[in-house]
């Protein structure tokens, strides 16, 4: 309406100490200030705010409201920003509001408009549409709307009371909007005209009678609709304050979910509204290991039903520990934060550690196995996979049914016959399936071993206690060596553990010297299921030792050479290896320094061995 906007726009219209201007208080404190936006036309701007023709300089109702709301400059106090523009219609406000809302984070918007729309031939239907859109714009930024009905046109003004039905109808529409949304209404409609009779002394007094001073004169603007004067703005401020201070700020909500351990990033957060209050918005804040993950205001009318509220913030949380808290807000102010709701977002479980079976099992009959592994934290299920020897087992077990303490044990498997097997296990929970464990092998042996194959000695030797060499069969636990006189009769018998063999190649001496003569020897393998048939018998001769007769000098070796007792090997350039200890007597080798080889040696094919004279 006429009259320039009062010049206090975009600054807090706070009296006294409530000068919460940017830069005057620490940002953390400033962030707590509850910011009100007074959006409207000249009546919000405070036009015609005067008494007896003298401006009050109080800034209309927003300038008076701070005292009623207790905006005292403290960090948790409030500030009111006047964005009333003279002559503005709600249609025009739609083009202003985005810029206004961008200026600072507001908490609540005090929205009063429509007077100029009526004056400019706009329907109440469109005014209601515009007010709804304005409120939607605020809502989209987390700002609550306090709707306000407009005051009646001055009955002595140029419109008389002809606009009363439209103003009253607009009041009903605004009341409906308030009911649908915040529930807060500053009902200015009956303010200056209770019981249908208006207090003319609360209106600006120059209405529609130009040229007829007093009160109108050449220096006073005619008011075509009816603005409050200073006393009218006083009443209007009280009306806004009454709507806002009718209730205390909201109480404390109670987070309900998520809580505890959750299998995946929660999609929904729920809380109980504090009973007895009507928070119109709730702020949900989610904190994680790296700080605040999410903080946003949610409008209660969209997210709450009955006593509970739920929102889907669209936040994807990585596994870890989190908390969320909630606080309510009304146009009156913010409530306190709730206690944090703690929850942990699971990751897929770590792989278990297989415990048993592993190694070799001897049984003539097929064996059923119980597979055991260490538990994985937060696992709800385990997958077991066993393969080998034409068998494949894949089972899934509920952790609750097979685990106790720190380990889990499967039910007995189907019997497994002889063969090599491997197995692995993995864990699963609501966050997914973890990786497989390492494969663990085990073997089922169902028969005695095959007979070994004897090797050395198989010729004439000088060493009276040679190292007997043979190749054993798999799954042999021990060997029994038998040496016989060639003429008949057992000379000696020794039993050796297979554990000391190099793979299946075994080499053992008996520790007992044989007298020169002819002998045979054989070896038998054994395991828990029995002994193998004896190997074939190998003949050999022990000859007296004559050291000088077996010297070998400068001999290029292209295949394995066995060096026997009584043979002195000296000063050798070994060249490329590898060198493998073979059977034979004690030998001393000098090669590029000294290497002492016990019990003979051999050189692999392709290697070169030069033997020289003992220095």
């Amino acid at each position: 309406m006429p009259g320039a906007p009062i010049g206090r726009r975009a600054t807090p219209v706070l009296a006294g100490a409530c000068l919460v201007l940017s830069g005057l208080v620490p940002s953390a404190a400033r962030a707590q200030v509850f910011n009100y936006l007074a959006m409207g036309d000249s009546i919000t701007a405070g036009s015609f705010d005067e008494e007896n023709g003298v401006p009050t300089n109080q800034g209309g109702y927003p300038g008076r409201l701070d005292a009623h709301l207790g905006c005292d400059g403290s960090p948790s106090s409030c500030a009111i920003y006047n964005e009333g523009v003279g002559g503005n219609t709600t249609s025009q406000m739609l083009s202003r509001i985005n810029g206004v809302l961008n200026q600072r984070p507001y908490d609540a918007m005090l929205l009063m408009g429509g007077t100029n729309d009526i004056f400019k031939n706009t329907s109440n239907e469109t005014i209601e549409f515009n007010l709804t859109e304005l409120s939607n714009r605020a809502s989209a930024r987390g700002v609550d709307t306090v709707f306000a009905s407009i005051i009646r046109f001055h009955p002595s003004g140029i419109h008389g009371t002809s606009k009363d039905p439209q103003v009253a109808d607009l009041r009903a529409r605004v009341t409906g909007l308030a009911g649908q949304r915040s529930g807060y209404l500053a009902d200015n409609w009956p303010l200056l005209c209770p019981n249908g009779s208006c207090f003319a002394n609360h209106y600006y007094d120059c209405v529609g009678n130009p040229g007829q001073p007093p009160p109108c004169g050449a220096n006073r603007t005619v008011d075509p609709v009816g603005h409050p004067d200073g006393s009218g703005y006083d009443i209007m401020a009280i009306t806004f304050a009454a709507g806002l201070t009718f209730e205390d700020p909201p109480g404390v909500p109670e987070p309900t979910s998520p809580s505890g351990t959750v299998p995946a990033s929660p999609t929904t957060y729920t809380w109980k509204r504090d009973p007895g209050t009507r928070a119109t918005w709730h702020q949900l804040e989610i904190d994680g290991p790296g700080g605040t993950v999410h903080s946003r205001w949610y409008e209660a009318r969209f997210h709450c039903g009955g006593s509970s509220c739920s929102v889907n913030p669209g936040v994807s949380l990585a596994p870890g520990s989190y908390s969320f808290r909630v606080r309510g807000r009304t146009p009156r102010g913010r409530g306190d934060w709730s206690e944090p709701g703690l929850f942990t977002v699971l990751a897929p479980p770590e792989p278990p550690n297989p415990l048993a079976p592993k190694g070799t099992f001897y049984s003539a009959a097929p064996l059923a196995f119980v597979f055991e592994w260490s538990t994985s934290a937060n696992a709800t299920e385990y997958d077991l996979e066993v393969t080998g020897s034409g068998t494949q087992i894949a089972e899934t077990y509920a952790a609750a049914s097979i685990c106790g303490g720190s380990s889990c044990a499967s039910p007995p498997s189907p019997p497994l016959s002889g063969g090599a097997y491997s197995w692995r296990v993995r864990a699963r929970n609501g966050a997914g399936t973890g990786p497989w464990s390492k494969r663990t092998s085990f073997t089922v042996v169902d028969s005695p071993p095959a007979p070994p194959v004897p090797g050395y000695p198989d010729r004439s030797i000088f060493n009276p206690d040679p190292s007997y060499m043979w190749t054993g069969a798999k799954h042999t636990n021990y060997y029994r060596l038998e040496v016989f006189f060639a003429a008949g009769g057992k000379r000696l018998e020794r039993t050796f553990s297979a554990a000391k063999c190099l793979g299946t190649v075994c080499s053992r001496s008996t520790g007992e010297a044989l007298a020169p003569g002819n002998y045979t020897w054989r070896v038998i393998g054994g395991n828990p299921l029995g002994e193998s048939p004896p190997s074939v018998s190998q003949a050999f001769t022990v000859r007296p030792c004559s050291p000088q007769s077996r010297q070998v000098q400068n001999q290029v070796v292209t295949s394995t050479v066995l060096v026997e007792a009584c043979q002195t090997v000296i000063a050798g350039d070994l060249g490329a290896g590898p060198y493998v200890v073979g059977a034979g007597g004690d030998v001393t080798l000098y090669a590029g320094g000294s290497v002492e080889i016990q019990d003979g040696f051999s050189v692999s094919p392709g290697g070169m061995l030069t033997l020289g004279v003992d220095p």
Binding site: N121, E125, F129, I158, D169, G211, N219
Partner: protein, 348 residues
């Protein structure tokens, strides 16, 4: 003072006299005969002023809210309303050099509210009047009556009571003599621009102009062109109200794409010779814009005048094609701001 810059707005404040400001209730400008003439509520009552000469007192009710001023061959006709308690009465008066002549109100009144009176003038003669009438703002009919020289003819119903508000009536007399009426009517969902045409066969059934949509279409203006008429109104585009133009040729309307700055509102269509000027306020940037069109409604240029004044100005043609917007003061001064051509805005 004028500049050829397309983007620079030069503001020229010529005369500022007196104090206070005038609202839309205090001012109305003739739309097509002499743009330099306007009716204003002066400090001593209503005055018919000329921008380049003096003013004459006009005997009109002090509480008149003027709606239209149209030129007649021997003066002007002003229409408006005067509130009497809860009633809103029509005022139709012939003014000019002769004493003010109040015409009787149209007959057969049935509603408490009679608003939006639009005089229908052709060839300098008052031919009729259209207005809105009802007991409530949202239960009104659009009515019209022919002026028979000394009395009103029977009241004609242009649009009966609708499902909601019918408001912002605008009318024009077409070149062939037909009457054209447009208004903003609530269709049960939102406000639409509705039109009806009166020929010898009577008024056509009201129709939407531009089809149905789900957003408000408000405050139409209309002016006759050589081949039909040009209408302008504001439509909400989801973020802002913007300007929409439509041309009537024969019996068919053609619509222009929505255009204009953010918050393009309250258009008024005026004629200056063979040019049509659609003046409307804008919110971003704040000020006023003028769409200048040729006789057929073809766009010629866009002009802007920056001014923080929220009050509707009058449009003045200074010389050649130079345009000014001016804000009269009650005491008699004019604050003038040059309107300068600017590029047509890109896609809003």
């Amino acid at each position: 003072v004028r500049t050829t810059s397309l983007t620079l707005l030069a503001l020229t404040a010529c005369v500022v006299a007196g104090a206070g400001a005038l609202s839309g209730a205090d001012l109305v400008q003739a739309t097509d005969r002499d743009l330099g003439v306007f009716l204003v509520r002066g400090t001593g009552g209503w005055e018919l002023r000329r921008s380049d000469s003096g003013a004459s007192k006009v005997a009109l009710p002090s509480r008149l809210v003027p709606y239209r001023l149209e030129g007649l061959s021997d003066g002007w006709v002003v229409t408006g309303t005067v509130a009497q308690g809860a009633r809103s009465n029509l005022v139709v008066a012939r003014i000019g050099d002769r004493p003010t002549e109040r015409l009787p109100p149209p007959p057969d009144r049935f509603g408490l509210l009679r608003t939006n009176p639009v005089p229908l003038v052709a060839n300098g003669m008052l031919r009729g009047l259209a207005w809105i009438e009802g007991d409530r703002h949202d239960a009104t009919s659009v009515l019209a009556a022919e002026w028979l020289g000394d009395r009103w003819g029977p009241v004609e119903t242009v649009s009966p009571r609708g499902p909601g508000t019918q408001i912002a009536l605008a009318c024009a007399v077409l070149a062939g003599g037909d009457w054209l009426a447009l208004w903003s009517g609530f269709d049960g969902g939102d406000d639409e621009i509705v039109w009806s045409r009166r020929s010898e066969a009577g008024w056509t059934a009201p129709e939407r102009l531009g089809g149905d949509n789900a957003v408000p279409d408000i405050t139409p203006a209309v002016i006759a062109t050589r081949s039909g008429a040009l209408a302008a109104w504001s439509v909400y585009d989801g973020e802002d109200y913007r300007l929409r133009l439509a041309r009537l040729a024969g019996d068919a309307w053609s619509l222009e794409a929505v255009s204009g700055a953010r918050g393009s509102l309250y258009p008024q269509a005026l004629r200056a010779g063979d040019r049509i000027l659609v003046v409307h306020g804008t919110v971003v940037p704040a000020g006023w814009s003028i769409v200048e069109l040729d006789e057929e409604g073809g766009r010629l240029r866009l002009l802007r005048a920056g001014s923080a004044s929220p009050e509707r100005p009058i449009l003045l043609v200074r010389w050649g094609d130079a345009l000014e917007l001016a804000w009269p003061s009650p005491a008699g001064g004019l604050r003038r701001v040059s309107a300068l051509a600017v590029p047509e805005p890109r896609e809003p």
